[in-house]
Symmetry: C2
Subunit: 406 residues, 2 copies
């Protein structure tokens, strides 16, 4: 008789964004006349950049002719794309990453979920609290998290590292030693970031205790301040302890186009075993590459025109984030983020929970945000709004929220 | 200190097709003047059908405008595609599959590798021997296969079901009861298939012993004979025991375009738990959908023009398979397959192993095939050639092989 993976039964309710989607759909059905503004999910709204569109059309034409048709892609991804990545994301920042340390994928969500495959079950993970739910949920599925403690809203075998206004949303080194540390900077959901010196402390710590850092740098393109690392490999010693996840979703609007990559330096080893080799084996066995035309679209992001156009998109979203940050400040909210990330993190009015504020905004301002508690217990009392809407809608949403306080 | 998944260290050498690629690259480098013909990997050579190309261009244009841009896709895939699948692949064959029983993915390789996630480690798998290596390798990674017995070239905790000329390449019901049974029909690598009555026996058996069948129907479009099931759900009772994997790679040439889907009927349960719910949770947590433009390409496969054009492609490859089958027969080889599948399975000359024959063909005919032993111990003594080359190359390859015997 077949047996299911019982760990799945431990998962809490459904995935955060599915829950929100259902709540919003129910509200919209009951109030079809209301015009909702969605600043909840981190989904982009600008169309793909012209350089990307041109490249897609060209690649589609290649697929129409036997001479230029592309079947199965190379295991690690096309070299034209990996070279563009190595040159632009790394060499340009003084970091040498070899082409066979880059694994092209269909996005950072898949990679952050699948990366756990190459580790044994008995690793203790540490996560920031609040945190992108995929890190924790995929470790629940793998049986690493112990049991859920209802009172604390925590998993018994996970090290939570609170990130709140008190520590400026940068965690302290944990008291208990973890095996795998998830860090995401610029941060989703808090919108805060980390300085190079702060990240260096984490790298030194990981090397000391022989932990691996899974560094999610999906929002790197939104960094506007000096002294914020664009890649963890800017820190000395990171190649012996860190895996970096990157995405095209937020810097180039690929949320529905699907492309990302993972970097695993060959120096990152357990004894003689390179994690690079393990991931190469997983990649070659359980994945068949991102589509050729999508890899060409990714290449176009690094062209001169592509860089200029996607930088304009990032500036557009950051202007939205500024609008939210400043508008909410004026309305009396305590806000953070929105400077090096497209997320604004606000403290909900006293006496309300995050979900209560979600319902309050949905019903009274018809604005959809994301409850902070959905990202972990230390997110309770906070709320996330994103700069990914249109400018017009962002302005309108902020006006509506301001009007509530009058 | 982090710990790796030690199961990965048990894996045998590298993935079969990577090994072949390396051997071929080494030969080509040593003999740059030789013109190799690749009939090894099951990769297509015809360009995408015009209807698919049109749909891709149209979808790319949609991504260029904010009004028609698509961000994150629905978890299960776009309804337009799932509806086309339900109508054409199932309803048209008298099978009712609900839209929320269909999960669109980036291909059958990912799905066949990832499906193991929803099962516990202590399931005993049964596989045909020879078999598509991904089924076994991904179970090695999950720790289900025990240790590798060098002498037998088998895993200690896997039930092997020999498929040889003696049983016409259809396995007998296993003596030991498995929990998870992998079946692939039309079969890769043997090119043989199963009748509806034979498959019904498997369904009845799985229901009786409460095993789950993972049914890989990636080659369904190649069925030419009556009485061969196009989907396992044509069999009575299959909905309570079978998961079906489907692909666009072989019926529509999507090997480099990446699209597939998995069907999990809601009747398939362990106690009160629907496997459909578990897979929905995995799909929503570790995957972010196939690209919008690729899902539109998939929809176009089901249009009137798309069906006609892709049927012509299938006919082209099947004509190649016929050319191989008949040519090798004339050359004195014992061959099977190639009637309901694009694969021809031949018995290598007496006194040679499969890999020796691989080298022999590579060096003397400059033809690349796939050694049967790469698919499992019962594949020893066999060799796979595919109909996926061009007609011209296929004819040339067969002429070269025939010439060797003169």
């Amino acid at each position: 008789m077949f047996k299911i993976n019982e760990n799945y039964l431990k998962l809490r309710g459904s995935y955060l964004f599915s829950t929100i989607a259902k709540k919003v759909a129910a509200y919209q059905e009951a109030h079809p006349d209301k015009e909702l503004i969605r600043l909840g999910i981190g989904d982009v709204t600008l169309p793909l950049a012209p350089a990307v569109i041109d490249s897609l059309h060209k690649a589609v034409d290649e697929m129409a002719s036997a001479e230029t048709f592309h079947g199965y892609a190379p295991d690690l991804g096309y070299e034209f794309l990996r070279k563009a990545i190595a040159d632009n994301d790394y060499k340009a920042r003084g970091v040498e990453i070899a082409l066979d340390e880059i694994f092209v994928s269909d996005g950072a969500k898949s990679d952050s979920g699948n990366i756990g495959d190459i580790f044994s079950q008995d690793n203790k993970i540490a996560v920031c609290d609040p945190v992108y739910p995929v890190y924790v949920d995929t470790n629940v599925m793998a049986g690493r998290t112990g049991t859920f403690l209802e009172d604390e809203e925590k998993w018994s075998n996970v090290i939570y590292m609170p990130c709140t206004a008190e520590n400026n949303f940068v965690p302290e080194l944990p008291k208990e030693t973890p095996d795998i540390i998830y860090l995401c900077y610029p941060n989703n959901p808090t919108g805060s970031t980390i300085t190079k010196a702060q990240l260096q402390e984490w790298v030194d710590y990981a090397n000391k205790v022989k932990a691996v850092i899974i560094y999610d740098a999906a929002y790197e393109a939104y960094i506007s301040e000096e002294d914020v690392p664009h890649t963890i490999y800017e820190c000395e010693g990171a190649k012996t302890c860190a895996i970096e996840l990157r995405s095209f979703s937020k810097n180039a609007g690929f949320t529905g186009t699907r492309l990302g990559f993972t970097v695993i330096p060959k120096e990152l080893k357990q004894g003689d075993v390179m994690l690079n080799s393990l991931w190469a084996r997983r990649h070659g066995t359980k994945f068949n590459g991102a589509p050729y035309i999508i890899q060409r679209a990714g290449e176009a992001v690094y062209s001169e025109a592509g860089k200029k156009q996607t930088a304009e998109q990032v500036a557009y979203y950051m202007n939205n984030a500024k609008t939210i940050r400043e508008g909410l400040s004026e309305a009396g909210y305590k806000v953070s983020g929105g400077v090096n990330a497209p997320y604004v993190w606000l403290q909900v009015p006293e006496g309300m929970t995050s979900w209560e504020f979600f319902d309050y905004l949905l019903e009274n301002a018809n604005v959809v945000g994301t409850p902070g508690s959905g990202f972990g217990p230390s997110g309770e009392g906070y709320f996330r709004l994103t700069g990914f809407g249109t400018y017009e809608n962002t302005v309108k949403a902020i006006e509506r929220i301001k009007a509530l306080n009058k």
